[in-house]
């Protein structure tokens, strides 16, 4: 499903030196599998997620999603890929402020023409958003907003869900609630999940755990 081969990325510093963030990183994630990505702040977790989502370009190496290499894709093909195959969930939710909760949930599915009313009803119910549908994002609590973002990410049943600290802005109780729902619904949608987190508790909800350190991934056992 997802395969990273000899992936490298470095950022050029203002003083002219370039700092390697990822160096020759290799990784595989099977269909329907979930993995947590742990690591110190600044170790490059978000960078890695951006590369996989095609939001940024690697310096070297390959990213294969469903055997398709991202380096071969044009900007519009990447957009197509992001609307059909990949979903992103961020710490800041990123809901569209001008659209109602209902429209936010449908946003990607509508663009991808993969709207499924039955699955939507189920998501709304499971995520407890039934009474929020007519509201606007700014009228919701943080936890509610993140649940809307999850519904949006899953409605079109993408092959791969990428989440960057989805519970980073939430308190402990809602974090666990959201996390439980996320891991469960991802399974139900049949998607793979790669999630960045600082919390070992959150990481525990997923099948595998990896550490990003010195530009490469270490499975939890070896760390």
């Amino acid at each position: 499903m997802l395969e990273l081969i000899q992936l490298s990325k470095a950022y050029r510093q203002p003083d002219g030196y370039s700092t390697p963030i990822l160096s020759n990183l290799n990784f595989q994630l099977g269909a329907g599998q979930s993995a947590a990505l742990l690591g110190a702040s600044g170790s490059g977790k978000s960078t890695l997620l951006h590369l996989i989502a095609g939001l940024d370009k690697p310096d070297a190496g390959h990213i294969l999603i469903q055997q398709q290499s991202l380096t071969d894709l044009t900007e519009s093909q990447l957009a197509q890929l992001r609307r059909t195959t990949i979903s992103l969930i961020f710490q800041q939710f990123y809901l569209i402020s001008t659209l109602s909760v209902a429209d936010n949930i449908r946003f990607q599915a509508q663009l991808a023409k993969r709207y499924n009313a039955q699955w939507e009803a189920e998501l709304i119910e499971r995520l407890d958003l039934t009474s929020q549908l007519q509201k606007y994002p700014h009228q919701l609590s943080g936890g509610q907003q993140q649940r809307v973002a999850i519904a949006r990410a899953l409605l079109h049943k993408p092959a791969l869900v990428l989440a960057d600290e989805p519970t980073g802005n939430l308190d402990e109780h809602s974090s666990e609630q959201v996390m439980a729902l996320l891991s469960e619904l991802v399974k139900q949608a049949g998607s793979s999940l790669l999630m960045v987190t600082h919390s070992k508790v959150m990481a525990g909800y997923l099948d595998q755990q990896y550490w990003l350190k010195s530009g490469v991934l270490h499975s939890k056992e070896s760390a």
């Binding site: 951006h50 989502a53 197509q80 992103l88 569209i96 001008t98 663009l111 994002p137």
Partner: protein, 829 residues
């Protein structure tokens, strides 16, 4: 103090990060101040020139001595008067010379040695008359700079004339002192004109005792005539300057809208800074003071730059302005510009005032907000609905006010205030119309169209940011359409009028020694002469204004076709058929609009036999004439004024090919070469002058539109900056470029079209007010309003062009900045 400096530094550092905003703020300020000050500089410069022009030879004479039969005054008569001790009298020769290259130049000449002391004192040009070279062979011909330019003259060249004569060596002057005329000594002037008589003698102010003495001393064939045509130029041209000032204020208003926009955005972006400053203990007062200081800094920078631009602009516009004044009033302004301290001060005060207006509302909104909660764009557009409603209510209020004021308007200034009210009402109603258009678009889109819904919702979010720019665009479009219609109507009216006025083939000047009776006596004349109109004139004063009585041949073709604006069928026929029951006259509209006369009303005029009544039969169009004028059949005129001044004679030919025959016949009847003109050349020249007249208006007009285009660009750039992270999020959600552009540009195009649509009726209203209210009030003459869709179409294309440029710039910015923003997604933005 240090708190204040710290706050000021924090506030100003914002512009370092967003140079675009600083740029747009500056552009708004410069555009407003620049256009305004350009007009201001030109206006004050023109006024200064009038004072000089008023001192031009002859125009300041209080009396003229002219020959009763309209021919010139002989030099013998002149020297006889001087010998009798009349030192107040000085000779003037005026005429038109034609160069070998067929250019017609007005000529004026006097004898500098005999100029009375008061003329020497007031006349700036006479300072150098002490130079003997002027009065000794080979003499000198003094050319004002613009005339020299026109003729492409270099110093000391001798202009060759069509009649074979040459002018004395040219002396180029640095200032326009005698108007657009060549100044000569009497002797070379008479030679150039091939004349032996003086045009008239000018007389300085006389005591009534001295006046009687002079009158008694005059031989019977000479007459002392008070100079009733010396009109104060300042007074005459006031309307034109008021109109220009109003236009410049309009561009200032457009500039103000831009500034308002820029300031609003700059404060909006700086709300985190403002919040942080307040959180670290800076008081609201200190913040206000800091923002006040920032305002002062901007006003100084903006007005200085704006003045520089305005100065440059006035340099470019001045030639057009000179043409305007020359053709409308015969007024001359030099080409030397001075920037007056009052203009500088006024520019700065206006800028400061404008900035304070632009700042006050947003600042008040900003500081009223509680310190902590962060407001997002989403709540911002919800409050916008309320603002829109207030604006609409204000617009309705203004419209009612305009309706109430309309019948009460009586002065030009009030008229401009009315125009301002109408324009402002239009601008304030616009946001509601834009909102309405979005609602309608929403209805039109299929209910289930998700992208449509997204587009509409996003449009609502863009509206508050774009509406000010759209208001600026509306003002600019309206002004353009209004003035365009004014100029277009004027052009058609003038050319129709010229068509009728200049319908004859030949036109012989009144000063010519040509004798119509001799011409008629020749039997061969009948073979080519179709019709004649011999015009004469008598100048009087009426209601303390100059009044010209024009004697005409009532049966001449052009007289029969005079452009009547108002008439009773019976009375016009009575006039045409020389009814003798009453003294019927035709009056120009000026007498109706400015002199408040009606058809059928009687005018008591001073004739040599005392006060006599004349009845107005009809009103006629008389474009651009600053004087009252009456048209009266020569036969009637001569019963009261037996020897009117000859004005000119128009001749119609049976066949254009008879022209050489006619010219020969004119020479035989006493005319000299250069005394007559072929009408078609006059008509072309008049149209050319007219086109130049409005060049200035056109220049300011199109500048205003570009300024509004910049406002639009500024608003879009600001929106882009604000929304860049949002666009990045869309991209992360799989939105492609096409969808993003659709969402961004459809509302923009929709609103631009709505703005254009609103500008059409508003522009028509504006031009209607300009033509039927302001023009009539200012100049006393009317014309039919011609509305053409062509300028509207051109403006639509221009607006589209501006939007296209804007979108290209925005696209380029997006391409540059989006990847970076995308990479930062999820991080602290």
């Amino acid at each position: 103090m240090s708190m204040l400096l710290l706050s000021l530094k924090a506030l100003l550092s914002h512009y370092w990060r967003y140079p675009w905003q600083a740029l747009f703020l500056l552009v708004g300020l410069c555009a407003g101040v620049g256009l305004w000050s350009a007009v201001q500089v030109i206006n004050s410069h023109a006024r200064a020139s009038y004072e000089q022009a008023n001192q031009v030879l002859g125009t300041q004479a209080h009396f003229w001595i002219r020959a009763a039969n309209g021919t010139g005054v002989s030099t013998q008569d002149y020297t006889a008067l001087r010998r009798l001790g009349f030192r107040e009298v000085y000779p003037v020769v005026q005429g038109i010379i034609t160069t070998a290259t067929n250019q017609r130049i007005p000529l004026i000449a006097t004898d500098p040695i005999v100029l009375p002391a008061e003329v020497l004192q007031t006349n700036t040009s006479t300072v150098a008359f002490n130079d003997l070279a002027f009065i000794q062979p080979p003499y000198q011909a003094w050319f004002p700079p613009d005339l020299a330019n026109e003729l492409n003259l270099t110093a000391n060249t001798r202009v060759l004339l069509k009649n074979g004569q040459t002018l004395p060596p040219a002396i180029l002057q640095t200032q326009a002192q005698q108007g657009r005329q060549v100044l000569l000594d009497i002797a070379p002037a008479l030679k150039a004109l091939q004349r032996s008589t003086l045009s008239y003698l000018a007389v300085t102010p006389l005591s009534s005792e001295r006046q009687t003495q002079l009158e008694q001393a005059l031989p019977p064939h000479l007459r002392l005539i008070p100079n009733r045509q010396s009109l104060d130029l300042t007074q005459l041209t006031q309307s034109l300057h008021t109109q220009l000032t109003a236009m410049s204020l309009l561009s200032f208003a457009v500039g103000l809208f831009i500034v308002f926009n820029a300031v609003r955005f700059s404060l909006w972006y700086r709300r985190p800074t403002l919040r942080t400053l307040r959180l670290i203990g800076v008081s609201v007062q200190t913040l206000m003071l800091a923002i006040g200081l920032e305002t002062v800094i901007w006003s100084i920078v903006g007005s200085s730059l704006g003045l520089l631009i305005g100065y440059g602009l006035s340099q470019i516009l001045l030639p057009a302005m000179s043409a305007s004044l020359q053709s409308l009033y015969g007024a001359n302004i030099g080409s030397h510009i001075i920037l007056q301290p009052t203009t500088v001060l006024l520019a700065w005060l206006l800028t400061l005032g404008g900035l304070i207006i632009a700042l006050a509302l947003p600042l008040w909104q900003q500081l009223r907000l509680p310190v902590l909660p962060s407001h997002s764009l989403s709540t911002y557009w919800l409050t916008d609905q309320r603002t829109r409603r207030y604006l609409l209510l204000a617009a309705i209020g203004l419209s009612i006010l305009a309706l109430v004021l309309y019948p009460l308007i009586s002065t030009l200034i009030q008229g401009f205030i009315l125009l301002g009210i109408v324009l402002l009402a239009g601008a304030w109603a616009l946001p509601s119309l834009l909102a309405l258009s979005l609602t309608l678009l929403e209805r039109l889109l299929p209910k289930h169209s998700f992208q449509g819904r997204w587009l509409i919702r996003d449009g609502w979010a863009q509206l508050p940011a774009l509406r000010t720019a759209m208001m600026a665009l509306l003002l600019a479009l309206t002004a353009n359409l209004g003035v365009e219609a004014l100029v277009g109507s004027f052009r058609t009216a003038l050319s129709d009028w010229l068509e009728q006025r200049l319908s004859s083939d030949l036109y012989v000047q009144g000063s010519s020694s040509f004798d119509l009776a001799t011409l008629r006596a020749n039997p061969s004349t009948a073979t080519w002469l179709k019709a004649v109109n011999e015009r004469t004139q008598v100048t009087l004063r009426y209601q303390d204004q100059p009044l010209v009585l024009r004697g005409l041949d009532h049966s001449a073709p052009d007289t029969q076709e005079l452009g009547i604006t108002q008439a009773l069928p019976q009375t016009i026929n009575l006039w045409r058929n020389l009814d003798t029951q009453q003294n019927w006259v035709l009056a120009n509209e000026q007498l109706h609009f400015l002199g408040s006369k009606q058809i059928g009303e009687k005018l008591e005029l001073q004739t040599p036999q005392g006060l006599k009544p004349f009845t107005i039969a009809a009103f006629v169009h008389d474009y651009g004439n600053p004087y009252y004028q009456l048209y009266i059949p020569n036969r009637v005129l001569k019963t009261y004024w037996p020897q009117p001044e000859p004005w000119n004679i128009s001749l119609w030919l049976n066949n254009p090919s008879d022209l050489p025959k006619a010219e020969q016949a004119l020479l035989n009847a006493g005319a000299k070469a250069g005394d007559w003109t072929v009408q078609q050349t006059i008509k072309a020249a008049s149209m050319k002058i007219f086109e130049r007249t409005f060049a200035m208006t056109a220049a300011i007009n199109s500048l205003t539109l570009w300024v509004a285009g910049i406002a639009l660009l500024a608003a879009l750039m600001a929106i882009l900056q604000e929304r860049l992270p949002e666009f990045a999020q869309w991209r992360a959600l799989g939105v492609n470029t096409r969808e993003q552009w659709l969402v961004m540009s459809v509302p923009l195009l929709l609103w631009a079209s709505i703005t254009w649509l609103v500008a059409l009726p508003l522009g028509a209203l504006l031009s209607w007010l300009l033509i039927h209210k302001l023009n009539v009030m200012a100049f006393g003459w009317s014309m039919p309003l011609l509305w053409s869709m062509r300028p509207a179409g051109v403006l639509a294309l221009m607006t589209l062009g501006v939007i296209a440029i804007t979108l290209v710039v925005v696209a380029w910015q997006l391409k540059r900045q989006l990847p970076q923003t995308l990479a930062r997604l999820g991080g602290q933005l």
